[in-house]
Symmetry: D2
Subunit: 139 residues, 4 copies
């Protein structure tokens, strides 16, 4: 399990005084991006010149507890589930209070597609499988 701590910023809050819901998905994607980068997947290079791209085809989130300005939180990548030419990443967001309250669960589904033909690959690229399975093993 990979996890990253962050603090809810002034601008993450909406007029209801709580984190605006699409920001939860940004928190998850930030963790995903950081994890891939730390694992040696060079996303900034792969977008213009790699063999494949990994666009999102689905995202969802359940909001269990609102978050407020200054809340300290932990964003976790729990694991990833591999399919033929796509994979699902599961996230949890916890508030760093006494009981580590679960605030949000979320999922993103990514398709593995040829960067030139835009057709689905026969399987998720091995370097991605390795990185996301390491993920699972360390869970």
């Amino acid at each position: 399990m990979y996890s990253v701590k962050r603090v809810v910023r002034l601008q993450d809050i909406d007029a209801a005084g709580i984190v605006f819901f699409p920001k939860f998905l940004e928190y998850c994607h930030d963790a995903y991006f950081e994890y891939l980068m730390q694992s040696g997947i060079d996303l900034p290079m792969s977008i213009p010149s790699g063999d494949y791209i990994l666009p999102l085809v689905h995202a969802e989130a359940d909001f269990k507890l609102p978050l407020r300005f200054g809340d300290e939180i932990t964003v976790c990548i729990n694991n990833a589930e591999m399919n033929t030419s796509s994979y699902r990443v599961n996230y949890s967001i916890y508030k760093n209070d006494e009981s580590d309250t679960l605030c949000c669960t979320a999922q993103t589904v990514h398709a593995a597609i040829s960067r030139t033909t835009f057709k689905p690959l026969k399987r998720v690229p091995e370097e991605i499988v390795n990185v996301l399975n390491m993920q699972c093993k360390s869970h």
Copy 2:
């Protein structure tokens, strides 16, 4: 069905050259906010002083076609499904090309909660039901 046209802006695009996925949910929420406001639900007044609040408890989206800078799109509220103390709103986003290509479907689920006790209401407030049913009738 309520629908609103908009143009994909420079800042909606990410490093992959396409709309960053949480922005699709913002597009949907903007349409939902506009529809409620036009229907006489005064959200800016209701947050600090109304009887109830309507926080999101779930959101999800399927991304079928990437959108790019300058694309003209239509964001539709298709209908709403009422439950005891919550409701689900269904959205579709179309690209305004020759075949009005469906780019994204999305859903948001809102709980109806007392603003003072934070407990679920026994039913979704009538003014909200009326507004969202009008929605359904005009479909």
Copy 3:
């Protein structure tokens, strides 16, 4: 003078209950983008394949009155000042209350640069001058 009306959205607000300051600059840029597009400057095409680009080299804003959720505002492009290879655009944002209170003034400065050599052009392209001077005439 070109102007566009908009309503302050839930997500434009920060934890202090007012519009987060960089959003004022986004409001201005949205008006600038809309004005150029309506005037026939095809920005989505010009970025990948035009002769020149018009990057911002400076931006500033004075915040005179905070804006809140639901406020109806008017974003105005007042005029543009041409220099050799750059131009300055001046904006005002008004709250649509009884006295049309001025809330913010802002400026953006854009350089005219060759898209291939990244060197400054000898002068701002004529189509841009024409569009932004029409702007001034209609003031």
Copy 4:
């Protein structure tokens, strides 16, 4: 001088492939927020219940070099200049390349205002002066 490192994220980029200009001001404000929090100024508590607020009255930035996805940058608070009832904070953003290229300079001006009367204070609160002067000393 306080400084913080960060990486340009996918969603900070716009359709021109570079960081959207208001994001530079967000980078600066994030550094300012982190510095105040680390120095013991509890902004999340002070907004609803403190004696004073510190709204922005001016912001500006000069953009010297565009930033791209994946760029590693350092955001610096250089110093703060105190006036009677306001203060100016000066920022620099560097790209962490071989020559630490300066990409952006920026300034924010904050007024010190009573939270209840909204009138300017006679002077900037001492705890803020102390924190921002420590800032200058460590430069």
